[in-house]
Symmetry: C2
Subunit: 546 residues, 2 copies
């Protein structure tokens, strides 16, 4: 039996495009003599469709698309993820299903049993868990068809009280198929491989895994679909961060034959780099935009953002605006220009002095004797924000936000100023990782001027300002933040790990009291196991560690 894996970049709710891609790959599979082609979880709708699933009209459109696709499955069968209505009179209105199509018809639906409802996942919001277990019988083989999380209840303290594969084993399947929508984070690929391996070994079955690829707003799907033998050895892995399509002989897989030699890189910073580039690219493509604008300050965050955008959109499509003020250093301006010239990106230098001055003048009678302070720092950031948005509106650029995760965490940024943007590129990248990214970008030659990487970080909103005036060094800050945000450790645990009590309490308080700012932040490309945004849901009005 020949099995094709189709790793595709879907567009949420774009039924015409998703259907077209699926039918194309069915034809391609048929031409190659494949018996079966496997698409990923909720392929027909794109993932995650979120509350579109509450619209009957949306689910009807999914169902209509599946019925139409079935008519193409005359020679090659297909497995495709789709939402279906729950016809029982009890329970949630939908199932998260895999449709099995063959002989030109929908033959069977297999529904998902384990519904992730943590971090960025909300599946129990929409779907009823499955409780009927049947293998798919096709051409003399018995397929244990599972959907993503269905294989994930294999740890020591399982999150769910049942295990779908245990149920299916009674019907003696020949192999496992898992269709998934498993988003990237820089720890996830190893965890995922380990989970799949444990399944292959526990059930002594070969395994075909098909994941989504591509970005859906903040979620970055890395692909990495794979084929594993019954010892849990990866025989082949599809590309990361790109569409891919390959065909396997079941017999070879069962025999444990390695099929391709080339493996994907798993170097952390390289994967983060590629994930972010894909995130920018797909955001623009899927919204139908070509050009980005950003404020290039001469600091490292906007420099890295500009380079990633140039790689995603083409250098000529990234418009860099330098907006110096009386507090900007000459080297900042020169470094920024040098970077733009290195990549031949268009740039302009627009002074904020007149606009900033007009605000100061307008507000003078009301501010009276109050001295220069945070208000005036914010005022500069907001003046820049207004200029960028005006250019964005006038010419149809999308503004890229350049804040990093460390400053987003502690609120070291101005709402409606440097927090502006359609997309935050680095909002899930700690400052220490931004430095790593810069080094990675410069690995072969100096693209980002060395001075941008080595000089002490500063917002340049008043004279001689340094980030370390108000924050600890980034090594310490990022480690405290990681323990609190990613690991959800409490203050005492963090202090015990070797940090000063006053510092820890101050940092956690900053994180919790700046929740109101993050509530209004642009969507953030997610590369960690706990990003700000849909996966981290905090009350604004609260009194905890604050």
């Amino acid at each position: 039996m020949k099995i094709a894996l189709a790793q595709i970049n879907y567009h949420i709710g774009n039924f015409a495009s998703n259907k077209h891609k699926i039918i194309d790959h069915i034809k391609r599979s048929e031409q190659a003599g494949a018996d079966l082609v496997v698409f990923s979880e909720l392929a027909i709708s794109g993932y995650p469709p979120r509350d579109f699933l509450e619209f009957e009209d949306f689910v009807n459109k999914c169902n209509a698309a599946i019925r139409e696709i079935a008519t193409y499955c005359t020679k090659t069968a297909a497995i495709i993820g789709t939402p279906v209505f729950n016809s029982n009179d009890k329970g949630k209105p939908l199932y998260n299903a895999a449709a099995f199509l063959s002989d030109g018809k929908i033959q069977q639906f297999v529904n998902k049993t384990l519904l992730p409802n943590y971090d960025i996942f909300d599946e129990y919001r929409y779907f009823e868990p499955n409780n009927v277990f049947d293998v798919i019988q096709y051409k003399g083989k018995r397929i244990a068809l599972t959907i993503c999380e269905d294989l994930w209840n294999i740890q020591d303290n399982p999150l769910y009280t049942i295990n779908p594969m245990d149920k299916l084993m009674g019907q003696h399947p020949d192999f496992i198929i898992n269709i998934a929508a498993s988003p990237f984070n820089y720890h996830q690929i190893n965890i995922r491989t380990e989970v799949l391996k444990r399944n292959a070994i526990r059930y002594k079955l070969p395994l075909f895994y098909v994941n989504h690829v591509g970005a859906q707003t903040e979620l970055l799907f890395d692909g990495g679909s794979l084929v594993m033998d019954r010892q849990g050895i990866i025989l082949d892995e599809l590309k990361y961060f790109e569409e891919d399509f390959r065909i396997y002989e079941l017999e070879s897989v069962s025999a444990g034959e390695k099929l391709h030699g080339k493996t994907n890189t798993r170097q952390e910073i390289a994967m983060i780099h590629d994930a972010l580039v894909m995130g920018i690219k797909n955001y623009f493509q899927k919204l139908g935009f070509q050009k980005a604008i950003l404020g290039l300050s001469g600091g490292i965050d906007s420099a890295v953002t500009a380079v990633l955008a140039a790689y995603a959109l083409g250098n000529e499509n990234v418009y860099n605006v330098l907006m110096p003020s009386r507090f900007s250093s000459d080297h900042s301006v020169n470094d920024a220009i040098q970077l733009a010239e290195n990549l031949k990106m268009p740039f302009d230098k627009i002074s904020i002095e007149n606009s900033f001055g007009a605000f100061e003048e307008t507000l003078k009678p009301y501010f009276a004797d109050k001295s220069f302070g945070i208000t005036e720092e914010n005022l500069q950031a907001r003046t820049r924000g207004v200029i960028l948005m005006a250019l964005s509106n006038k010419f149809g650029y999308i503004l890229l936000n350049t804040s990093n995760k460390s400053e987003a965490a502690v609120g070291y940024s101005t709402l409606y100023g440097d927090m502006n943007g359609g997309l935050s590129v680095l909002g899930d990248v700690y400052k220490t990782q931004v430095f790593e990214l810069a080094r990675h970008i410069n690995r072969d030659k100096e693209i980002i001027p060395e001075n941008i990487i080595t000089k002490p970080p500063s917002a340049e909103l008043r004279h001689d300002q340094k980030d370390t005036d108000s924050l600890p060094d980034y090594e310490s800050l990022d480690e405290i933040l990681y323990q609190y945000i990613e690991l959800r450790k409490g203050p005492n645990e963090i202090i015990k790990s070797g940090f000063n009590e006053g510092l820890v309490k101050r940092i956690l308080k900053l994180v919790n009291t700046s929740e109101y700012k993050r509530y209004q932040t642009p969507p953030i490309l997610r590369i960690s196991s706990k990003a700000f945004g849909m996966g981290r849901r905090m009350p604004i009005v609260a009194k905890y560690l604050s």
Copy 2:
């Protein structure tokens, strides 16, 4: 047996304050000779604690508070909602529990079975559903203790496959207690009463219901705790939108004796009004702020916002800023001043002309031959936004956002301009309802100048602009939006209800393509069954009806 109901306004994560209030009410109950005092769901943490529940430290603090409170329950027993750890080796890490405290100790935990995971609810994100059913035995009575949603599976197409009360009936309870955290919307009170009534009638048991009261960021808890006899007749109802405390004789309730004559108003617009005032008040109180700032344009949205804020915070604490431009009409300025004077609210008139002009001048070389358009309209809105934020920063005001739900829906607003604010007061109030609110405010005397209510709505961002230049009349717009947003109807259903096809498609497209703006909107006080924000989760990058 004497049973006290304590309807309290909790502060999320403020264990000191929540504990203090609870202990106070236990003492008060004891002094009044009550045998039992009932607090609401997750009282100890406040509701919803959201991802704070992922911090062991947070749950430990809840548990410690409950243990301490138990020592006060020597004469009067108490029922208090709290998260507890799940000690099984399978399943989610927590239960949503009710602690039964008596004789100075924690006697028993009853865990929640039905976990709402729709709209604003995420309970399956944190909690394992209960599957052990026991009544509480106390002073010769058997109490069916249930938690909120546990009583809600009583409709024809139940959302859950089991029903906790059916399980408890085997143990012959004498009455039902339901502790809840059921947020307000203007349909909810009638629905809730009906659900409770069906339970009382089906199980032939009297019912004591204790709800939260007070605002938690966007969620507005109305209270309305009540006592019902076995025929489902409300014998007494606690106040709406205020803390309240009452004591009942179980024997009188069982006998169906009406206890108080006074009932709460259920007039829709009056409830919305009171809910919003409470929402503003609690947002400021719980964050420790006293003063609000807003842009008073002379239009109806900012007028209603200013009045609600004045009622919530005191007239002297609402600072109104008039920011006319060359496009502002005289009557707008005069109407705004009249309103401020009617309520003796402080106000200033700050022209945006200089700042707006400085931006125009700065941008001229880049805009070149491009004509005045949306960019310049946004520029005015953003210039105002910057001025308001500067005053907010300098003096510690919280900026109130004045956008209504109709414009938030179709994106008729400027990101980083009039969308600014710490809290959106009217973001869940359709324009037609804003008019109703204005009429309600003026029911006894003219507080909002009549001209503000009767003139045609305009953003005044260019000459002779009217909202109807780009939008249909608000009656039609709001009806289409209601069908799409609240009822989740598809385009064909809406068209069939009597609207022009082109219009419906245009409106739905506007809603879906302005998702990116709403992503960055301030938290919106929720008064409807489907508000923008945490209860409506949409992809930004998508292609559905767009």
